[in-house]
Symmetry: C2
Subunit: 432 residues, 2 copies
């Protein structure tokens, strides 16, 4: 293949679900992409752990290798597309590529959520592109809209349903009345959840994506470990049923916002009012919601994972790199820092809270519970009580209260002799 300014020679690191889809996309749409954009995307080298293993794809001799470093160092490779995952050796390989003046495209959320600022800095110094659309939301256009289409805004809030597995599980729990374990097993059977579901159900995946979104939206570094994180294992079918009765859906919410010069970033189950745009996002869909000071509220919805959607994002980034290659404009849009802003710890955040308690069903119990809320300055918005013979379930939704206040309420509730257990406490998004 003739190489010109409009020819970009790609070194692909990893050829699993996403990498395989990248190869198929280039083969399916490569000629059309060349016709439209004038740039040819040529897959020069592919590094995989086991080159001898067949993956249903045929490569020219010399393309496949087991040595990723060889691909990075190959002078026949202009750009690296990293879809291998994991922090190391991906980090070292991408830094090496950048230092050699090669642009890089990555789908690696943990890498960017942990070492993004280091990589952005290296790319800026080397004058190359570092693009990461595929690291958040699969085929959903998220990073580029934030960096470019919404660039005129001061972003006030980024929220989303960033994990398809947990959204599928919570949807099934709501629709079928299933408990968490049953819905998880269903998700595993359908290939929406891994055999070890920790990364998804405990919120690690969503927290990494939120760290990336917050870093870009607020122009200040937010690390994966900066994101407060709770998973969905404690959410019960009962919580979901009570929530619905009160007009809410239960979702794993990822939320980052700026208030009074501090950045708050958290992933946890949340009650969303049924008319909230994110409440209607069902099954394995993802959604990202951005509020800008001029654009207002913008939401994007789509398939947030899977080989083909993620490949769509990887190849879009490659096309962008190719356009910069042709225009001699590498590094045209990097990560743009503004004044660094401190993080607001979870204790200083405020939300309304839903509480489900099991109490002894006798006179005066509710008065004792209500007194604790009152004494801690937390006001109650609504109450549902359901008798179950000896015991009763009480659901309370509070008005907005500081996390630290709610923790004092919870500690005092746990000490009440008439209270059997606080089954769950779930934050509510928005005002009540």
């Amino acid at each position: 293949m003739r190489r010109g300014q409009g020819e970009l020679r790609i070194g692909l690191l990893g050829c699993g679900t996403v990498g395989g889809a990248v190869v198929r996309l280039l083969r399916t749409n490569g000629a059309e992409i060349r016709r439209r954009t004038g740039v040819g995307l040529h897959l020069a080298r592919v590094a995989v752990a086991h080159p001898e293993k067949s993956r249903g794809l045929v490569f020219d001799p010399g393309v496949l290798t087991g040595d990723a470093a060889e691909v990075v160092g190959d002078p026949q490779v202009d750009v690296i597309a990293e879809v291998m995952g994991g922090v190391e050796p991906a980090r070292r390989l991408l830094l090496d590529a950048i230092e050699r003046g090669k642009s890089v495209v990555t789908a690696n959320k943990q890498l960017i959520a942990r070492h993004g600022v280091e990589l952005f800095g290296a790319a800026a110094r080397a004058g190359v592109d570092l693009r990461l659309e595929a690291s958040v939301g699969g085929g959903l256009p998220v990073i580029q809209p934030l960096k470019e289409s919404l660039a005129a805004n001061r972003v006030l809030e980024v929220a989303g349903i960033l994990n398809g597995t947990t959204n599928y599980i919570l949807t099934k729990m709501a629709d079928e009345g299933w408990e968490f374990e049953e819905a998880l097993q269903d998700a595993q059977r359908r290939g929406f959840a891994e055999a070890d579901p920790t990364d998804d159900v405990d919120g690690h995946d969503a927290a990494a994506k939120l760290a990336i979104l917050a870093t870009i939206a607020f122009h200040t570094p937010v690390h994966a470990d900066d994101v407060y994180r709770e998973g969905i294992r404690r959410v019960s079918a009962q919580d979901i049923a009570f929530a619905r009765e009160l007009g809410f859906a239960v979702k794993l919410l990822a939320l980052a916002r700026e208030q009074q010069g501090r950045i708050e970033a958290r992933v946890h189950p949340a009650l969303l009012p049924l008319d909230h745009p994110l409440a209607s996002i069902r099954n394995e869909l993802n959604a990202v919601f951005v509020r800008g000071d001029f654009a207002g509220e913008v939401m994007t919805v789509g398939r947030g994972a899977g080989g083909e959607p993620t490949a769509s994002a990887v190849v879009a980034d490659l096309i962008d790199v190719a356009r910069n290659h042709r225009a001699g404009a590498h590094g045209r849009v990097g990560w743009e820092a503004s004044e660094p802003r401190p993080l607001r710890p979870i204790e200083d955040t405020a939300s309304p809270v839903y509480l489900l308690m099991q109490v002894t069903d006798r006179p005066g119990v509710f008065a004792r519970i209500a007194a604790i809320f009152g004494e801690e300055g937390v006001s109650i918005a609504s109450i549902v009580q359901k008798s179950r013979g000896q015991t009763a379930d009480i659901v309370i939704v509070t008005h907005t209260a500081l996390e630290s206040q709610m923790r004092r309420v919870l500690a005092r509730l746990e000490g009440l002799d008439v209270l059997h257990t606080v089954r769950n406490a779930i934050r509510v998004a928005g005002e009540v």
Copy 2:
């Protein structure tokens, strides 16, 4: 203000609702935009029809002028932002700016939907940027995601709710049971509809936006007049009630798709299944839905009009031009044509159809109606009949039928003596 590579001097044409918001945005967020991106957006000149009229904005002496051509010709102006609207003189002014080597940003949908290809060609020859994010969907990121984030896809379909006025009217008709005129007057009182609502309610506005989306998504020219167009004046409260009973919402749908190498583009009222992503878009919101061969279905929702959201898009485009200015990369992403494809006339399109008829309520009537459908090869999916004394309302939803078949059915129905009137025929989106 010092001028460097990172300084872009803007000539603004028009200072009404959108132009005024552009000025306020630059004043509010200009310093932050400069801090992040390193580019300064300097409002050098503003052309308005009546410079003597106060618009609540104070400009330095010499900035305001009544002569737009003077702004275009001013050597102190690097880029033109056109928010004046109307085809002429906007077209002539932008062509003049482009020929002078100035990049242009426009919010002008009628101009692009009618002369886009001419302007794109001029911009490509001059090596300047022509950006138009604000021409479709106000602050919604739509054009850039299609051109860049989804560039690796073959787009199969673009659909949307592209007009906030009609969506507000249809939402009110559904929620309140109002007829069209009542909902229109409410929209006019709230400032969602113009005194002369033709542009919105007859679908001209949505058709222009769809022409732009189709031209970009399918890389082939689609002119505003190529779009088949029906407005919402004939939709009645009764249609909406029957549709809901059958599991549909009524929306003004804008739809463009490629099938067998031909492009179909149409704007008309449509029944959308209640679980269709566009069915839940309420009030004055807009939404754009794209189906790509790899990304799958992606939908973006937000405020599709208004000064501030539209200014967000105009200034995002200016930032993009500034980035190209700094990188010496003007014209980096133009309109990318692929093989031109012919349009499919409306007669050759196929949809299920909803029909509301008023008939004489006596035995054998339905058999005569059903016979006509059968003889024309149109199969019936569902029927609702409601007696009203002497007459009955019959609602029929057909399976997918060719437009030409349906026209024959309608012509024959109109000739039936027992049929008083076909009140409405509305296409259904998707399969029934």
